[in-house]
Symmetry: C2
Subunit: 238 residues, 2 copies
């Protein structure tokens, strides 16, 4: 848990608010899998880790609860979310619905400069792919998600961008829980394929490739068992 420190809270100007910074740090820790699903996030502990009062720690946890990364039980506390297979399916169903639209919108607005930034992002992905070790793997997962977020940003719709922010983060959690292989590696080539189609202005193809990509990610999950939940998340809390 002390790993959180390295995601330094930039006291730099501009950080709107300390609870926002804490939210970011926790968010990164969760999607990086440094915080396992089910981990308890007590207000006091979070507060002392970041050297703030419970009030602001609580605000950060509330935000995370809102985006589904954390589940809060009344009078019991906040826990890193432990999505069920059903939730996982719904997350990917949502992405299948939204992302093709984002690709289509992005095609209309994208500039050569954007394309260049995308290429740089893909290089970053590739770089992490060739490295070994858990740190590189985490960086790879993050970079892979960032590709989708950049796309959302390029689409120029802040609402869809926010939705994708949530969906990508929750996807990371799901992959952490149900991921079978290092399938993110095969994701890389699919990203480049999408970008190629995007650059050529081939909207239909880009959208189709994106759906295919999402299908791929989901297909790599093992969503069979563990359906028996219900009695306080069925022991999986550990």
């Amino acid at each position: 848990m002390t790993l959180l420190e390295n995601t330094a809270i930039s006291a730099d100007a501009g950080m709107e608010d300390r609870s926002l910074a804490i939210r970011e740090a926790l968010r990164n820790a969760i999607i990086d899998r440094r915080l396992a699903p089910g981990t308890k996030l007590s207000e006091a502990e979070v507060g002392s880790l970041f050297d703030v009062s419970r009030t602001v720690a609580r605000a950060a946890l509330q935000m995370l609860t809102f985006e589904g990364l954390v589940k809060t039980e009344r009078n019991r506390g906040a826990f890193v979310s432990n999505p069920s297979p059903e939730e996982a399916r719904q997350i990917f169903a949502s992405r299948r619905l939204i992302e093709p639209g984002i690709v289509a919108a992005a095609i209309e607005r994208i500039t050569p400069a954007d394309i260049a930034r995308f290429r740089a992002q893909l290089d970053e992905e590739a770089r992490h792919m060739n490295e070994r070790g858990p740190t590189a793997r985490r960086a790879e997962i993050k970079a892979s998600g960032d590709f989708h977020l950049m796309l959302a940003s390029a689409a120029g719709n802040v609402i869809l961008e926010k939705f994708m922010d949530e969906l990508v983060a929750r996807s990371s959690l799901v992959i952490a829980l149900y991921g079978r292989s290092g399938a993110s590696s095969c994701g890389h080539s699919e990203h480049t394929a999408v970008l190629d189609a995007l650059e050529k202005g081939d909207a239909d193809r880009a959208a189709a490739l994106m759906v295919h990509h999402i299908d791929h990610i989901e297909a790599d999950l093992d969503l069979q068992h563990r359906e028996g939940r219900g009695l306080r998340d069925a022991l999986t809390l550990v």
Copy 2:
């Protein structure tokens, strides 16, 4: 502002939390247009209206901020959101993207019992349409939104349902600001058309009708002027 009282806080069992109840009350007040865009929502005032401390009032406002119904400025306070025309377009673009998918998903799962409930809901809409007065108009707007929310619920995807919750609420705000006529009236027949297609299992037609419906709503807006914002929301704060 005292109108809020009538949206009684059901102290009934189950209401998870007082801040949730306050959020609901404020949400309803906003989408009902009892609270105009730009209205300041001070923590102290909200707290005293609902007879809670600033702490819980603040939590409610934070939730509303997260779903975009309220905009919070640091050290200044919370205001009922005053969406720009651009935001309005993005809201409807998001709906055009998501709602056809919801319709498609709903077709797969809908039961005759659901259909019956939809019919009842449409009757409710019609009833309010035939009444006069601002109260009836508010009820009509709310009922119209509820149709879309029921559809989202029928689709069986809680994530999309949450997204729609936000989008419908924000749409109400936009319509309040930019709505030209009582166009919600023509919306009713379109709702029935969608439902008919849905009942027949005609997915393509239902989705097409839904897109058409959303286009209609947006076409009734006047999104031309008022683009010149920026200096602290250009006086519209009043």
